[in-house]
């Protein structure tokens, strides 16, 4: 009986108010819910042929956001966020912390930030309703305004406004990546693991002062909404090749642009991995411009061509 009443409540009441709520308001409520709510979500992530199960917990301890992400398969891999600090605990290296207000690897950072930032590149469109993880969900489409980026579909829990599923799609509606909640539990108080995490002493934030400013590279063209987030020069992980690095983002899509001395083996001009990550390389004299990101290759090619030194 109580269940039926609850179900009625959940369906009838919000439905009245939610009926004419614009897509942007849904997304803003999501952004707020991701920051405010205390919940545990069991999630599966699909990428090409890979399925990765993970658990994400979020809560507030002493007014600070605390979150915990655990990958359930394979070697232990966890991330803990307390306030503005994210610590990665992985099996093969000592734990390290970085400054961040978002654990990378679950929902895109843009989901919990200002929605108006996304409006330049995407259009928000209200979609249909369907049931996900045993909950009624409202679908919101993020349609790209141009052909330079991929589109997204998000399903939101109609009750808590937390995201239940997100798909990343190519222009011809092929699925590139999907994150789907299979169980969502709303909590009354932060779970004990988060309270412990809050008290725990985590390694100090690694010093990123080593990031030296890069050259003053400019782009003669960028897709609308994209801007430079970081520029520096560093060495690549495996090969220690020195590169000039520029990071671009439109909020959802992230692009890395590298300038390096051309190697003896040329890189392929274009390449796409099965999860939608593209790589484009272009030779300019004895230098090589490489662009990587989850956007169509044409976008990367155009960005690489528009790069110039001021």
């Amino acid at each position: 009986m109580r269940l039926i009443l609850l179900a009625l409540l959940a369906l009838v009441f919000p439905a009245v108010a939610q009926e004419d709520m614009p897509a942007k308001v849904w997304l803003e409520k999501m952004s707020q819910a991701l920051k405010e709510k205390e919940f545990k979500a069991s999630i599966i992530q699909l990428q090409a042929d890979h399925i990765r199960p993970l658990v994400y917990l979020h809560g507030k301890v002493n007014n600070q956001e605390v979150a915990f992400l655990e990958y359930l398969n394979g070697p232990p891999k966890n991330a803990v966020r307390v306030g503005n600090r994210v610590t990665f605990i992985e099996h093969d290296q000592p734990a390290y912390s970085i400054l961040s207000n978002h654990i990378q690897g679950v929902w895109p950072a843009a989901f919990s930030s200002k929605m108006s930032d996304l409006e330049v590149g995407y259009q928000f469109v209200l979609g249909g309703r369907s049931r996900i993880a045993g909950r009624p969900g409202q679908m919101i489409r993020l349609l790209p305004n141009d052909e330079y980026r991929y589109g997204f579909q998000i399903w939101l829990d109609m009750d808590t406004y937390l995201p239940l599923r997100y798909d990343m799609l190519t222009q011809d509606k092929q699925l590139l990546e999907q994150l789907m909640v299979i169980e969502l539990i709303e909590l009354k108080e932060p779970p004990s693991i988060l309270q412990e995490a809050y008290k725990q002493e985590w390694p100090a934030v690694i010093d990123q002062a080593e990031r030296q400013d890069g050259q003053n590279w400019q782009f003669s063209w960028l897709p609308a909404g994209f801007s430079v987030v970081v520029r520096d020069h560093h060495r690549l992980i495996g090969s220690h090749e020195a590169v000039e690095y520029i990071a671009l983002t439109d909020g959802l899509a992230n692009i890395s642009v590298y300038v390096a001395r051309a190697g003896s083996t040329p890189l392929p001009e274009e390449l796409i991995t099965r999860n939608g990550l593209s790589l484009v390389s272009e030779k300019v004299g004895n230098a090589e411009v490489v662009a990587v990101g989850k956007v169509p290759t044409e976008t990367l090619a155009r960005i690489a061509k528009s790069l110039m030194l001021e």
Partner: protein, 207 residues
């Protein structure tokens, strides 16, 4: 640190930790009891308990090892290290000698970010023939319904006549380094975004 510490001890028994963690563990005498207990439990589960149980194994092994000459190889297997604290001290000294592998600053942290990025990179070279298709054969097939088991194999690479095997490998290695670095930057850049948001004026791009 307690919960985390316990996990470490447990992982160490299974030989899944690295040298630095081992050294930390070894310094923490409190963990030594746990170490022994985990091993005894493990032995019991495998039915390998000795007839008579020497109660403090680690102490007697430590004593035994003290009599042996120090092992020079840096590749010490996990059990040897933790059993004997003295041994660890030696090894800690050695690991200072071989930070060759550790000197990449922030990038030393990257190894695992990258692991899964490399997987399934399909590498195609454009030739005159397939110039007709602008983006070379994409394997972006829909995921739903094709829930195949997790596999960590690189997909078959289409051979291009003009490249030798070595060149192919070298090319793939270079692609991987770029993709790995991109993945790592996604982690590090979120920090940059935090700083951005805290400033009222947009970050000055360059002085």
């Amino acid at each position: 640190m307690d919960k985390l510490g316990q996990e470490w001890v447990s992982a160490a028994v299974d030989g899944e930790t690295d040298l630095q963690t081992m050294a930390e563990l070894a310094a923490d005498t409190h963990s030594h009891n746990k170490w022994r207990n985990y091993h005894v439990i493990g032995d019991a589960m495998r039915g390998e308990l000795p007839q008579t149980m020497a109660l403090d194994l680690s102490a007697s092994i430590a004593a035994a090892i003290e009599l042996e000459p120090a092992i020079v190889s840096p590749q010490v297997s996990a059990p040897e290290v933790t059993v004997a604290p003295q041994q660890v001290a030696v090894n800690a000294g050695q690991s200072r000698v071989m930070p060759l592998f550790k000197q990449f600053g922030q990038y030393a942290i990257a190894a695992t970010v990258a692991m899964f990025a490399i997987v399934g990179v399909q590498n195609f070279n454009q030739t005159a023939d397939d110039a007709a298709s602008p983006s070379p054969v994409l394997i972006t097939r829909p995921l739903v319904g094709s829930a195949s088991p997790v596999s960590l194999q690189t997909g078959p690479v289409q051979q291009n006549q003009s490249y030798t095997n070595d060149q192919m490998n070298e090319q793939r290695r270079r692609i991987n380094t770029y993709i790995q670095d991109h993945m790592l930057q996604q982690r590090l850049n979120t920090g940059a975004v935090v700083e951005d948001n805290s400033e009222v004026i947009p970050v000055p791009v360059n002085q």
